[in-house]
């Protein structure tokens, strides 16, 4: 069977594994949606009205959902599969490495697309929030680049995780602080923390999505594009690390 079909088959299998594991599916899908509803209620006051608030957090939660699916959930899944010896077993078959990796990344892409659609629809139907037609390509490119890059980073972080018990600590410790300082859930646009956040891809993904949603704000479309480039650069770095130090066997 050709490599592409094998990769597609792997993505289908990974997808089944994802949906059949209730905890993983619950946290990845339901968490961002709960945040969306909480933000809807909690941020309306501080951000000056529900419409204004929705304009802030709709792209935020989109970024958050994408990161949960592509980075957190992917990295957890890979570490668990590694610890269970699944990666080792597959390594012993003729399945090409790239087909496995492509299938592995394909699965969160699907979940991220689903989440983005749900969140976008919520914004549109509840708050009448739409993306201007000329910014639609920016939104789609930002989502695609973001999903691929965070998946690559998710694969890369697994190299640092010693075992499944340590996985939540490693994965959350790398992503939660960034989510907090990157203007995602908490508005934070200035100061030292914002400058630090500017070095990392979370802030840039959020900026790009926000630029797509908010043509009137200070962010220009050009800024969205440069943010996508930063996210992509992080993704390439992640891919490089993943290819160099990815581990197929359980660690002792």
């Amino acid at each position: 069977m050709s490599g592409l079909r094998l990769a597609a088959g792997r993505a289908r299998l990974e997808n089944r594994v994802f949906w059949r594991n209730p905890t993983a599916a619950f946290f990845t899908i339901v968490f961002p949606l709960v945040f969306l509803l909480v933000a809807d209620v909690a941020l309306a006051g501080p951000l000056g009205g529900r419409g204004q608030a929705a304009r802030f957090y709709t792209p935020s939660i989109m970024a958050f959902g994408l990161i949960t699916a592509c980075y957190t959930s992917l990295a957890m899944g890979v570490v668990l599969a590694r610890e269970a010896g699944t990666l080792k077993r597959l390594r012993g078959t003729p399945l090409p490495t790239w087909a496995y990796v492509a299938g592995r990344i394909g699965q969160p892409l699907f979940v991220a697309a689903l989440l983005a659609t749900l969140i976008g629809l919520y914004g549109a139907l509840v708050h009448g929030l739409t993306v201007p037609l000329e910014r639609l390509p920016l939104l789609l490119v930002a989502l695609t680049a973001g999903a691929l890059s965070f998946s690559a980073l998710g694969l890369a972080i697994t190299a640092a995780v010693p075992n499944a018990g340590a996985a939540p600590a490693f994965i959350n410790a790398t992503i939660l602080p960034l989510l907090l300082i990157s203007d995602v859930l908490v508005p934070l646009d200035q100061g030292v923390l914002a400058t630090i956040a500017g070095l990392f891809p979370v802030r840039h993904l959020t900026d790009a999505l926000r630029a797509a949603y908010d043509p009137t704000a200070a962010l220009a479309a050009g800024e969205g594009t440069s943010s996508i480039l930063v996210v992509g650069a992080w993704g390439l770095a992640g891919l490089f690390v993943a290819l160099r130090s990815f581990s197929w066997s359980p660690r002792g």
Binding site: M1, G9, A81, T93, L95
Partner: protein
């Protein structure tokens, strides 16, 4: 495989190992836990890199194992690695799709007595069933070379015998099999040749019969003495005598007829019953334990 050495840090787990497995035969690698069996088999499977030595599997260096080579090799790992949330049928179908000439799904299920379990999630299988599925997965690409790392661990006796029968059938079809085990009966039932590995060194190699015959004492006489205070006759002390604290006596002898005669003559004279008297030729297990013991001293 020539002069294979594997070192972790300063610890040598495999030392200068030479092994040849003839095509179409079953070779068993025996040894206590930590003897270097898994290290050796995983080097041959291409999972680990060797420190030094020459290794060739199906004419290629497994460390470079590319896709075409993997196509010809089947591997059953010591620890499973089957996705728990998939069903038996899904895992088997997926793994079959990685090979160009897979065996039929039904035939595989039948061979490991999992017919009708297609829709059972892997996590609902018993430990023995899961292990059987792993055996089917290793065989599903019709490999020329089959590696089995402690294949029947956790099998019930009936399943174990069925698995042995299947492995023998595969060998009869021309599959070369290399297995590790610490179940002596398994090596005796399956292997054309075997090697006993202790601390990374081969201490015995040959057919099962050669290995059993290779030790010093070949027959074991066992009985219980009602009163441990009885002194055995001096002539008998030619044999190796071991007296357990529970009164069980074991005589290891190279001359079973003479020893038995001396023993029964003495027992008749003294009017002592030899409860549970048994005479057995040394089993592979005893030969193995003795070899491991000697090697460790």
């Amino acid at each position: 495989m020539q002069g294979l050495t594997k070192r972790y840090g300063r610890r040598e787990v495999v030392r200068n190992l030479d092994l040849v497995v003839q095509a179409g035969t079953v070779f068993a690698l025996l040894g206590p836990n930590g003897a270097g069996k898994t290290s050796t088999i995983e080097i041959l499977e291409g999972y680990r890199e060797r420190t030094s030595g020459e290794v060739e599997v199906l004419g290629e260096d497994p460390a470079r194992g590319h896709r075409a080579w993997r196509e010809r090799v089947g591997i059953m790992l010591q620890e499973g690695g089957v996705e728990p949330y998939l069903t038996v049928g899904e895992v088997l179908a997926a793994t079959r799709s990685y090979y160009r000439r897979p065996r039929s799904q039904d035939g595989l299920l039948q061979a490991v007595a999992l017919t009708g379990e297609d829709d059972t999630p892997v996590r609902r299988l018993s430990a023995g069933q899961r292990r059987r599925l792993e055996l089917a997965l290793a065989v599903c690409g019709s490999p020329e070379m089959l590696f089995l790392d402690e294949p029947t661990l956790g099998f019930d006796p009936a399943a174990r015998r069925a698995a042995w029968r299947w492995i023998r059938e595969l060998a009869a079809e021309g599959t070369t099999v290399l297995l590790t085990t610490n179940v002596m009966e398994e090596a005796g039932a399956l292997a054309d040749r075997l090697a006993i590995l202790v601390d990374g060194v081969v201490v015995a190699e040959g057919t099962p019969a050669e290995v059993v015959g290779g030790g010093v004492s070949k027959t074991v006489i066992r009985f219980r003495l009602g009163d441990p205070a009885f002194r055995l006759p001096h002539d008998l002390l030619d044999a190796r005598v071991m007296v357990g604290s529970d009164g069980l006596v074991e005589l290891h002898t190279e001359e079973p007829v003479r020893s038995l005669h001396q023993l029964t003559e003495w027992a008749l004279e003294q009017d002592i019953g030899l409860r549970g008297l048994s005479v057995t030729s040394r089993s592979l297990e005893e030969a193995y334990l003795e070899l491991v013991d000697t090697a460790r001293q």
